[in-house]
């Protein structure tokens, strides 16, 4: 990629929007998953009694729904990102490519 092309792409509003939106979304979602996971680990480490709470019947402790919820949450987050990227980011990328190629 030569310098002229670099400058051209950098000046495109679509490019600036793409970088800004994708970077923002990626970091927000990463922080969300890190907070959930390390929050869970911290809760386990500092308040193990909490996990002895029975939430259904006589044997289902709260740890089970929480664990499954973290797995499902991870999956939904990836789904959200992919949806957003397929809808918005690819369109912006296509526009940028059209401008410079």
């Amino acid at each position: 990629m030569d310098q002229a092309k670099i400058e051209k792409i950098k000046s495109l509003p679509e490019y600036q929007q793409l970088v800004k939106e994708r970077t923002g979304l990626a970091w927000k979602l990463s922080i969300a998953i890190l907070v959930v996971y390390y929050g869970y680990i911290m809760l386990l480490a500092f308040n193990p009694e909490f996990f002895t709470t029975i939430v259904s019947g006589e044997y289902v402790s709260i740890g089970f729904p929480i664990g499954v919820a973290i797995i499902v949450f991870s999956f939904l987050l990836t789904g959200y990102y992919v949806k957003k990227a397929n809808d918005d980011f690819d369109e912006l990328t296509a526009k940028i490519k059209k401008e410079v190629e």
């Binding site: 670099i6 792409i9 793409l18 386990l44 193990p48 044997y59 089970f64 990102y81 992919v82 940028i96």
Partner: protein, 551 residues
């Protein structure tokens, strides 16, 4: 092409002959070994026949270097998602996590969650950029704008170290498992695995490796689904009944329902979390799969599918583990009050309880198929590090594609042979540390260099090389001084480093190393490295200039 078919067929016979011979032998020498498991053997032979056919099919389509390393770049997101999930759902993970749930209950779920949460991070921060920047290996990305030789050597060394350690774990596990399931001798089992994977990879390259992985992932997910549904059926689809039955089998001990001290030490827990999360993002055989899809869109879709399959699989593994506690009863499964073959056999015994000999045979064959598929992926990743990163980019920069693929094939044979030798050599060793070491090296050497090269403008060649080697060496040293090697294997008393996974410290060392030796770097090369960031960044964002699909 007929000669190709003959060659592959003879590979298959070569691999399977000892199995038949041993099977015949075990029948005559009654009682000394586990009874020969005929349903398992016939299902396994059927699987091997199918994979050899796939290899034949793939070999006819594997002509260029891109075909060999990246399956021509024509794998779809769904297929790649299944293959990634397959790489991740190794036998160690299937049998290990169900075994851990069987032994410790809830703690097994905590461990599984740690393995899963790395995937969203890989998607958000890495997958698309990897696809846009790389060609065949993650080293292509890590070394993108830096001086090629030192960074390539570092990243290739990190790849090969992780691959070899992972291979040792898989091969020893494979030998033990096959010995137990099929009544085959350990050494034969290891040699058989070695011969088969050499055949898959040298002839069929990434295309065969991917399809073997996809088929196995589908078989494993179906088998696990069947076991989990059968367990829940017997428990009237009530988790309360499942846990109640399990607790009763443990003489009323409720502790399997709660966390049992697995996370009692927060530093240890965080360090483990970092090793699992960032280690995954530094595994060469998994990162390599992002180059098999045509573009960034398919790359991101593949992580979405992979996360779904892996998460689903861990939920199944959890049900299977508790199902094993609740349903494995009767003297034939136990010796001296312990599960025959160890806790890792929980899922295997449970399949016998649920579906009898034939289903046991099916699950055993699937477990074996899992080992074959994962070992082939690892072997291909190791061979690529040698042929693409070291040979074609350092030793002989003018190498033609033909020369490079030839070297890749020889490297495959060498790594396959090493896998056999290490598998037999480590047979009776305590290998628990090798997985810890593999993940710690992946998290502390491969991951920091890779992620910083994509995100940090001011990183320089010097920072990458010194930081990467610091991460790698601190990982090796701290694992050696840790509880598994220092205390259990060397028997030197209390561990100097009290963490099985010291990633919290070694990853930090690597990042600080990269940062410090980059900002203090005032060389001409450093200016060049920084200058290259802009073009790299634009390509990583837009895919302009990225490697396309050849199909």
């Amino acid at each position: 092409m007929n000669s190709l078919f003959k060659t592959l067929f003879s590979f298959m016979l070569l691999a399977l002959l000892p199995m038949v011979a041993m099977a015949a032998g075990t029948i005559e020498s009654d009682g000394t070994k586990v009874a020969t498991n005929w349903p398992a053997i016939s299902m396994f032979v059927a699987f091997v026949g199918l994979t050899i056919y796939i290899t034949y099919w793939a070999a006819k389509r594997t002509k260029s270097a891109k075909d060999f390393y990246a399956a021509g770049g024509g794998i779809t997101g769904l297929q790649n998602g299944l293959a990634i999930a397959g790489d991740y759902m190794s036998a160690a993970s299937f049998l290990g996590i169900t075994g851990m749930v069987y032994l410790k209950g809830y703690d097994g779920l905590i461990f599984a969650i740690g393995f899963l949460v790395g995937w969203p991070i890989i998607l958000f921060l890495m997958s698309e950029r990897l696809r846009n920047l790389g060609k065949y290996t993650f080293t292509d990305v890590a070394a993108y704008r830096f001086k090629q030789t030192p960074v390539r050597v570092l990243a290739a060394f990190g790849s090969i170290a992780v691959v070899i350690l992972y291979l040792i774990a898989q091969m020893v596990g494979a030998g033990k498992l096959i010995e137990l399931l099929f009544g085959l001798d350990f050494d034969y089992a290891v040699v058989m695995v070695g011969i088969l994977i050499i055949a898959y990879v040298t002839f069929g390259g990434m295309l065969a490796t991917t399809w073997v992985q996809i088929i196995k992932a589908v078989l494993l997910l179906s088998g696990a689904t069947f076991i989990a549904i059968a367990v829940m059926y017997q428990m009237d689809f009530s988790f309360d009944t499942l846990f109640k039955t399990a607790v009763e089998k443990r003489d009323g001990d409720m502790s399997i329902l709660f966390s049992g001290g697995f996370v009692s030490d927060p530093i240890n827990a965080i360090s483990l979390g970092i090793a699992l999360m960032f280690g995954t993002a530094g595994l060469p055989h998994i990162l390599m799969r992002f180059f098999t899809v045509p573009d960034a869109k398919e790359a991101r879709k593949s992580v979405f599918y992979a996360t779904g399959f892996i998460g689903y699989f861990y939920i199944l593994a959890f049900i299977i583990g508790f199902g094993a506690v609740a349903l494995i009863v009767g003297g034939e499964f136990f010796a001296d009050g312990k599960l025959i073959g160890g806790n890792n056999m929980a899922a295997i015994h449970l399949s016998n309880v649920i579906g009898g000999d034939y289903f046991l045979g099916f699950i055993s064959a699937v477990a074996f198929a899992t080992i074959l598929a994962v070992v082939s992926g690892l072997t291909l990743a190791g061979a690529s590090a040698i042929s693409h990163d070291i040979y074609a980019n350092v030793i002989n920069k003018n190498a033609t594609e033909v020369q490079e693929t030839k070297v890749a094939r020889y490297a495959t044979i060498v790594i396959g042979a090493l896998a056999i030798i290490f598998g037999i050599g480590f047979k009776d060793q305590n290998i628990a540390f090798v997985v810890a070491l593999a993940f710690t090296i992946a998290a502390s050497a491969n991951f920091p260099v890779l992620i910083m090269s994509m995100y940090w403008k001011n990183m320089t060649t010097r920072g990458a090389v010194i930081g990467g080697w610091l991460g790698l060496s601190s990982a090796v040293i701290m694992v050696l001084l840790g509880p598994v090697v220092w205390t259990q294997i060397l028997d030197m008393g209390a561990a100097i480093v009290p963490y099985k996974f010291p990633a919290l410290f070694t990853v930090t060392i690597a990042f600080i190393g990269i940062w410090f030796f980059s900002i203090t770097d005032k060389s001409a090369r450093a200016a060049e490295d920084k200058e290259g960031f802009e073009a790299q960044f634009i390509r990583s964002q837009t895919g302009i200039g990225a490697e396309g699909s050849s199909h």
